[in-house]
């Protein structure tokens, strides 16, 4: 969930009204105030499927709808600029728009930079899928070309004074180092007749690609690897820049053999079935049209059971009429709706196996513990474990296949606590890729006899018979451990822990233990289960 910082003063400026209940209003947009510092408000956006709201400008647009404030913009029909695309294999798509008559302040420039940053990071997948560039339109000499450039061609990167070649940027500029891997050895550039505008997705040029408070007209451009997302992101960014200006004009993109005009501001229409809405909500909502308008929809046809609405062009999340219905309910207000308990004739049921073994463990006077299923491969090096591919740290990089090493880890952390320490756990392990539930009993100080007495007790309670087959297990004393076999199935291990391991773990008390797979004992449990 992205968190953004917005200026309340700028928000009020864009909305055109004073805002008193910001928290309440943001709730309608699935956003929450996380903190405030002077004029700055930190906002968390819960709906990751609404990138159009990831900015001050997007929030302002939403609030205008809710508060019924109208603001007029001019949308130009004819493209004011052309971008010729030559083969740019690694990053083939581009979309662009021109916003005219903008009035920018330092804080609105900061807001647009934040939008750019958050979109690059989220929907842009760290600029791999899409990346955004803004330019001073008045300094350009059309036509524009998007092509592969000469690695030795050069320009002054944004925020720098020194002219650098594309190669040097990759090697030396922080952005080049950070994003250089995305272009895989080729050098996409956007240029006009005279100069390089930018080296996407890495950096803009300092003279053309810099927006200042004196900039009157802005070119917005998005490049990327996914046409649908390139055009969507362009739409979001250009409409956000438009919040600070008056006119939005399209740009013609000339690919080889086809052309596209961006941004595509067409709107989809959805038919809302009021009967379905009532079925979903559980009550009749009056003024559905009012609620639709508050949430930014345009009602194009009404009367009878169906309402036809036009979905705002920046909304990419509306896939099904339920998405519109939720908006109606949100506008109506969740807290105005009377909750009703569903009356369904169902009966409860639990598996019960875990509870049975917990009861047995507690009955034997053992102290219950709960240890982590994740552990570190280096600690469990003597065991076969399932590793994860993307661990956050080497202390949590695999899943345990037995509980008993985790219990020894537990005991090693409690050597200062009074003994006896007789613990048990009913928990999950993963053997191969299969999840199994185990009961593990670990006793200190203790010996084999006590462990076996307890195992016998478990067997008596569940009415199963077992056999012990001598076999070596990691960390246990050879000759004093073995596998527990029921029928022909191996279900666990019993034994005394090797003094060498105890010494290594700093446990200076003899430890015995047993561990059994309780899932494999389910049939015995079912036989004695009473309800």
């Amino acid at each position: 969930m992205p968190t953004i910082t917005i200026s309340k003063r700028d928000l009020e400026k864009l909305v055109g009204r004073e805002i008193n209940d910001l928290e309440g209003l943001l709730g309608y947009l699935k956003a929450e105030v996380k903190g405030r510092k002077g004029d700055e408000v930190e906002v968390e956006l819960k709906d990751t499927n609404r990138p159009d709201l990831f900015s001050l400008e997007g929030i302002a647009r939403g609030l205008r709808n809710l508060m019924g404030v109208r603001k007029r913009f001019v949308f130009g029909k004819e493209p004011v600029l052309e971008v010729r695309v030559k083969k740019v294999g690694v990053r083939p798509y581009i979309a662009a728009a021109v916003i005219k008559k903008v009035k920018l302040s330092d804080s609105s420039i900061r807001s647009l930079m934040r939008l750019q940053e958050v979109l690059d990071r989220t929907v842009g997948r760290n600029r791999e899928r899409t990346s955004i560039g803004l330019y001073n339109y008045d300094l350009l000499t059309p036509p524009l070309r998007y092509e592969l450039g000469d690695p030795n061609s050069s320009f002054v990167p944004l925020g720098s004074k020194k002219r650098m070649t594309l190669k040097e940027i990759l090697r030396e500029h922080p952005k080049g180092v950070e994003y250089g891997h995305l272009i895989k050895g080729s050098y996409p550039i956007l240029r006009d007749k005279r100069k390089i505008l930018s080296f996407p997705p890495i950096i803009n040029s300092n003279d053309l690609g810099r927006i200042t408070t004196r900039t009157k007209n802005v070119l917005v451009e998005v490049t990327g690897t996914d046409l649908k997302w390139v055009e969507r992101v362009l739409k979001i960014v250009s409409l956000s820049v438009l919040e600070w200006g008056r006119e939005l004009h399209p740009v013609r993109i000339l690919y080889r053999g086809k052309e596209r005009t961006t941004p595509d501001l067409s709107q989809e229409e959805v038919t809302l079935d009021l009967l379905e809405l009532e079925r979903l909500s559980g009550f009749e909502i009056r003024d559905v049209e009012k609620h639709l308008r508050r949430m930014g929809y345009e009602v194009t046809k009404k009367g009878g059971r169906f309402v036809r609405v036009r979905v705002p062009t920046y909304r990419t999340d509306v896939m099904h009429p339920v998405d519109v219905m939720e908006d109606v309910l949100i506008s109506y207000g969740y807290n105005r709706i009377e909750p009703e308990m569903p009356k369904l004739p169902t009966t409860g049921w639990k598996d019960g196996l875990t509870d049975k073994f917990r009861e047995i463990g507690l009955g034997m006077g053992l102290e219950e513990v709960q240890t982590f299923i994740m552990n570190s491969k280096s600690f469990l090096e003597d065991f076969e474990v399932l590793e994860v591919e993307n661990p956050m740290s080497s202390s949590k990089d695999c899943l345990r296949s037995w509980i008993y090493p985790c219990h020894l880890e537990f005991l090693s952390m409690n050597t200062h606590v009074p003994y006896p320490q007789k613990i048990f756990e009913v928990g999950e392990v993963v053997q191969g890729v299969k999840t199994r539930r185990h009961l593990c009993v670990t006793l200190a100080p203790s010996d084999f006899t006590e462990a076996k007495q307890m195992l016998n007790h478990v067997a008596d309670r569940l009415r199963f018979e077992y056999e012990l087959v001598p076999e070596g297990f990691p960390w246990l004393v050879e000759g004093r451990c073995g596998k527990i076999v029921v029928g022909k199935k191996e279900i666990g291990v019993i034994g005394e822990v090797h003094p060498e391991k105890l010494n290594e773990l700093g446990i200076f008390n003899p430890v015995s233990l047993f561990e059994i797979d309780i899932d494999s004992l389910k049939r015995f449990y079912e036989r004695i289960r009473t309800v």
Partner: protein, 482 residues
């Protein structure tokens, strides 16, 4: 009172020094222990006398055995009356230093005479030789143990034959309370109720000794459930009482059940609503092909009036093995299986999400999630369920519904409750499953899905501010929990 204490008490009469008590057959270490216990209970008074004494040094012990050098000097000399000094030294078995010191001392006291390099014993010397000297007597006394210093023995100190030592002597007497207790003790009472006492009816003749029932006893630790698991079990029993059935499933899950079947797009930020752990080896598992086909279609083109996400669905990605990151995966498995309609299901199970461990984050934790499905269910019923959870499980009367977002529900809602001392806290999330989720499973009735932030609830109840305590490795802490 221990047996040892009783033994010591019974021995006491008037004021006694500790040697006396030791002579009665109590060991040194036992006596120390008994005296300190009895003293702390106020049964005896211990008087401590600090005394300076002297004792034999190693040299002193040697001289007690072999005789003082001057005596040996004289007795060697006495045999012949007159000798040259070298012979005396040889005959008396003295080393050079002892010899010259002894000669000097004897000469000074007039016990020998030295003339022309010959040593001769005087009458005074002969007399001294015959009798035990005061020094020798004192040394003999010291052989039995340290004694007070005696006047005139300073020279022995100087010569290193004896040394000073400070000792604390204890004298013990009974207090008033002690006397009363001893009186009782001297009676013949029943200490322990033995089989013999019971069988022979001994209680009829003897009194059963009373215990100090207020006395402290050593701490012992008994079997006890892990507090967090107890709490989860309470929640589980409550849900069962409300008519919910328990769901279970694997920790190593297919991306299919964890994400795809829940309409979380493979190429969309909504998938990254939280991070997921991927299994290193093996990488892929098996998915029912027919179901996979239907889910793929829902993603690509949509079902039931939806236009879908409109991207190229990867079936390979769907087969990817991961660690379960949300228990909604269990709900998906249930909906695809033999699900009852109407039905209520829940799971309390472990989920994994990549995170670095700190006070508020764990890479694995338990989640309580479930579904309610049936003809005619609607949003008001969803709110009704949440109201029930707020009141019955979270124990709060003040709560509200906030807007929320989950990729698999529409509408979605968050439950926020007021907890005293904590303010408004998020208690859980819920929603009605999207048609794109339910249709591929062939489910045509509304499905209400819900989840509760159970960890937070437990932490508030137990006043814990560190989430690591839920899986506490601190046995001392666990033993202190209610």
């Amino acid at each position: 009172m221990s047996g040892l204490e009783r033994r010591v008490l019974k021995l006491l009469e008037g004021e006694m020094g500790e040697e006396e008590l030791l002579e009665k057959g109590i060991k040194d270490i036992e006596l120390n222990r008994a005296l300190s216990w009895l003293e702390s209970k106020g049964l005896i008074k211990v008087r401590r006398v600090v005394r300076e004494v002297v004792k034999l040094t190693e040299l002193g012990k040697k001289y007690v055995e072999e005789g003082l050098p001057e005596k040996r000097f004289l007795s060697a000399l006495a045999q012949k009356g007159e000798m040259d000094p070298k012979s005396v030294m040889r005959c008396a078995l003295l080393d050079a230093r002892e010899f010259s010191a002894a000669m000097g001392r004897l000469k000074e006291k007039g016990m020998i005479e030295v003339k022309r390099n010959k040593v001769r014993i005087t009458e005074k010397g002969k007399k001294y030789l015959r009798r035990e000297s005061v020094e020798e007597r004192f040394l003999r006394e010291l052989e039995k143990g340290p004694r007070r210093m005696k006047k005139g023995m300073e020279e022995l100190l100087r010569r290193g034959i004896i040394a000073k030592e400070v000792v604390v002597k204890r004298y013990v007497r009974l207090t008033k309370l002690g006397k009363r207790v001893v009186k009782r003790l001297r009676e013949d009472v029943i200490e322990q109720i033995t089989p013999e006492v019971i069988r022979k009816g001994l209680w009829k003749e003897k009194r059963i000794r009373a215990y100090d029932i207020k006395a402290k006893v050593p701490k012992r630790f008994f079997g006890k459930p892990q507090p967090y698991l107890s709490f989860l079990n309470e929640v589980k029993e409550k849900l069962i009482a409300l008519g919910f059935k328990e769901m279970q499933g694997p920790l190593v899950e297919l991306s299919f059940w964890n994400c795809d079947a829940l309409f979380m797009p493979q190429d969309h930020p909504a998938r990254g609503i939280h991070d997921i752990y991927y299994v290193k080896r093996p990488k892929y598992g098996k998915v029912d092909e027919e179901l996979l086909e239907r889910v793929a279609e829902a993603h690509e083109k949509g079902v039931g009036g939806s236009k879908g996400w409109g991207y190229k669905f990867s079936k390979k990605e769907s087969r990817r093995l991961i660690l379960r990151s949300q228990n909604t995966a269990l709900s998906a498995r249930t909906l695809a299986g033999d699900v009852e309609i109407p039905g209520k299901y829940f799971a309390i199970a472990r989920v994994f999400r990549p995170d670095v461990v700190d006070r508020t984050h764990l890479p694995e934790f338990n989640q309580v999630e479930g579904i309610v499905l049936g003809e005619g269910l609607n949003f008001r019923h969803l709110l009704g369920m949440l109201k029930l959870f707020a009141e019955e499980i979270a124990g709060t009367e003040r709560f509200r519904f906030d807007t929320g977002y989950f990729p698999f529900t529409e509408p979605s809602v968050e439950l926020v409750g007021y907890k005293k001392g904590f303010g408004w806290v998020e208690l859980g999330g819920a929603g009605i499953l999207r048609p794109e989720v339910t249709k591929p499973f062939g489910i045509d009735v509304p499905v209400l899905a819900w989840g509760l932030g159970i960890d937070r609830l437990f932490m508030m109840k137990h006043k814990i501010d560190d989430i690591r305590k839920l899986f506490s490795y601190d046995l001392g802490w666990l033993r202190c929990q209610p």
